[in-house]
Symmetry: C2
Subunit: 502 residues, 2 copies
Amino acid sequence: MFDLFFRKCPFKGEFALFGGLQEALGLISHFKLSDEDVEFVRSIMPGIDPGYVEWLRGIDCSGIRVHALKEGSACFPAVPLLRLEGPLAIVQLLETPLLCLVNYATLMTTNAARIVKAAGPGKSLLEFGLRRAQGPDGAMSASRYAYAGGFHGTSNVLAAKMLGIPVKGTHAHSFVTSFTGLDDLTVRGTGTTVKAEDGTEHDLAAQAQACLAELGFGATNEGELAAFVAYCRSYPKVCLCLVDTYDTLRSGVPNFLAVALALHRLGHKAVGIRLDSGDLAGLSVSARAMFVAAGEKIGDASFDPAKFVIVASNDINEKTLAALNAQGHEINTYGIGTHLVTCQAQPALGGVFKLVEINGNPRIKLSQDIGKVTLPGRKQAFRLYGKDGAPILDLLAEAGAPPPEVGLRVLCKHRSDAKKRCYVTPSRVELLHHLVWADGKLQAELPSLHAIRTYAQEQLALMPAACTSLSSPETYKVAVTEQLHTGLHDLWSKESSIRELE
Amino acid sequence: MFDLFFRKCPFKGEFALFGGLQEALGLISHFKLSDEDVEFVRSIMPGIDPGYVEWLRGIDCSGIRVHALKEGSACFPAVPLLRLEGPLAIVQLLETPLLCLVNYATLMTTNAARIVKAAGPGKSLLEFGLRRAQGPDGAMSASRYAYAGGFHGTSNVLAAKMLGIPVKGTHAHSFVTSFTGLDDLTVRGTGTTVKAEDGTEHDLAAQAQACLAELGFGATNEGELAAFVAYCRSYPKVCLCLVDTYDTLRSGVPNFLAVALALHRLGHKAVGIRLDSGDLAGLSVSARAMFVAAGEKIGDASFDPAKFVIVASNDINEKTLAALNAQGHEINTYGIGTHLVTCQAQPALGGVFKLVEINGNPRIKLSQDIGKVTLPGRKQAFRLYGKDGAPILDLLAEAGAPPPEVGLRVLCKHRSDAKKRCYVTPSRVELLHHLVWADGKLQAELPSLHAIRTYAQEQLALMPAACTSLSSPETYKVAVTEQLHTGLHDLWSKESSIRELE
């Protein structure tokens, strides 16, 4: 019996959200060595036992049983995310691939949830991390678990296609710099016309130029204006213009407003702008003020530029979000790449996979580092809820022991410090682990990525706010029963030698 | 014409090693949208122009030309790693995938090289990062570029198989904890015998127990001894024992020495031990002293335990390596996972992809952040070498301008600060970019991963030591010619509006 768990919540926080179960079960379902794999193992292990080679050819996970938390669950140190039982040698082979699939997934889901929380209510969060991930598949994992953690979309089109995540994005800076002036629209064959809602053709370039003057703006970068015209004539209903290529407030925003007004008069509607450099809070406030002023100047109630969306990107993380909120801003949506996908504040979750029982005997791993001592034995985990409906603590108990009951007081002990203990009288008891794999097949239909995302949000909402706080959170208690506590300390004494001090 | 470059060397250093070219060219060779891809794009872009859909069906990279640095090259800010020219819309589609393939590869190659350097000469470095990478493919990239940067092996068996990297590793803690005593060897059918060099069978368990007493050790953990016997009877020539499961110096090292002595007497040879927790420097010194004492106690010149290998792992990074070296230790080999593969000190390289010329016109991207202004125009890059054979600086020049010549003085200017300039009289001039893709095919055979690794090491050895220093390095100069400098500043003035201050 092996437990997969972590010892410390990531990002100096006091919660995590479990990710990676679906992919872990994919591995377990398909775990098999090809003849080529077996030959490779033979080639790198001189003197390998031929019986072992034969055994390798036949291995699969049909003899394994897996219990797991639901994907998206709020999860805490020492509570197993996965519990595996089955033939020792096979389960040991799964250690590293399972950790690979669960560690980053859980880290990313948690990171995404924290960033969504840091952005504050009503904000939209887009994952922009493909270019900064650990190669293409690292990026796919990032997109998947960013969405599971509560992000609203991705710019990764392949992830959108394969995982059904909403896809969002803007054009590139290079799209803007590729235009030197309005002539390019003709010279390059892009064209300047756009079809109005009524089907008639109009010269968007000429109308945007007229709108620039009407709005009272001075000279702007003409190449940028051409780029916006080219973009908006192709996507007159969904255009979001990147405005910081030359000068955000003196060129980008005026050019955008001019094109947006021209589009409006043809029955279309621009979406907004994206800021990608500079003082994002200040620029967003200034841009919003320019939107409002433009609306007042035009004085047409149907043209309401004050509501344009402002998207911000550029190295945004939890801290910059807190700073933006403290400063005050007009940003509606964030595009977040590097800090999200690399989990810059803590790029790895230290999940581990430890043997806790063999042939009915509990096993322990001791360590010079006391925090690395494992919790031996086959365990069940319960989440005990209080009267207010919020979880009070997670309780680990020996498997087979009678579960805690609603309304009955139960003694809960700290894992290592015997003096830290409390009584809990739960109003609700939730068994945390579910059998997900046995008899060579999945034991239940797996939820969709969308369902996991919804569940993760419900879990976060359910936890005590003090534990999910981003700054100075309180520790959510993970306790053990009296019986488990005794078992741990008996085994610890038994397996460690008593030092002779001379 | 697009340049792919970065603006700042990673890890507060002053060098990087270029990685990812082979994978980037793999993308370029196979770049094509399937019918399914095109249908997906159509589904997410309502109102898409049918001509655009048709165009998407036919795209490939046959019209693209790519120049690149050699993979493994020492590389510096602003010097393009890749230069792409070809149809604008296609090159723009390559922006994000190319950045994805080059950013992490370059970061990892550089990180690995720094860690090898931090470990010091004569040390062996093993990549142990699979469980902490961004999913399985992130881990494959990590293994590949750790090796390119100078690591000596990986514990990732798939990477070993697919990329030809030497594979190294030890057993797991769970292998040790799975044994409760020597009886398990019989009960579980593992067996206790081992074949000596002369073909005779011997009871390794009994002999190891006798050796424990002969070496004068007290009681050790018997389950651990059983695990070492089981492991060493299977791999009597290559066994490396993980000694920290219960108590490194009182159980792990004695058990290892006992088994190693027993093996020695049967004509075999153990490899050494692995430390995975505690004070690694102190434990390595103590373990080495125990090895030496065991050799003296046995007094058989053919048994030389002082030379056993000591492998250390457990959250090692550049800083801990420096601390270990300052403290003094007896470690021969490091296994490094988390900090290596996540590049914890800086988990992303900020490589960007910028349009620098279109239809013969140089283009620029301005920014609120002056460091984000691009270097316009089609450029060549030269590395100018001094009399001592070391590079003096990299010089960017307009393409087509006459190249610098050996023995002729050339004026080299700072990119933005006109007052910073110098004359260089090169003893050797190296053209840095090579045509790698044109006419729809590779322009030269790509070097193997091993050759890239060798080249990277040569490059590091060639650079001025002050620039590759890990702490307080000097900046390696990247200069521009007078002509390029003028072009940059003329275009900058032209594209930026002059503010009206009132």
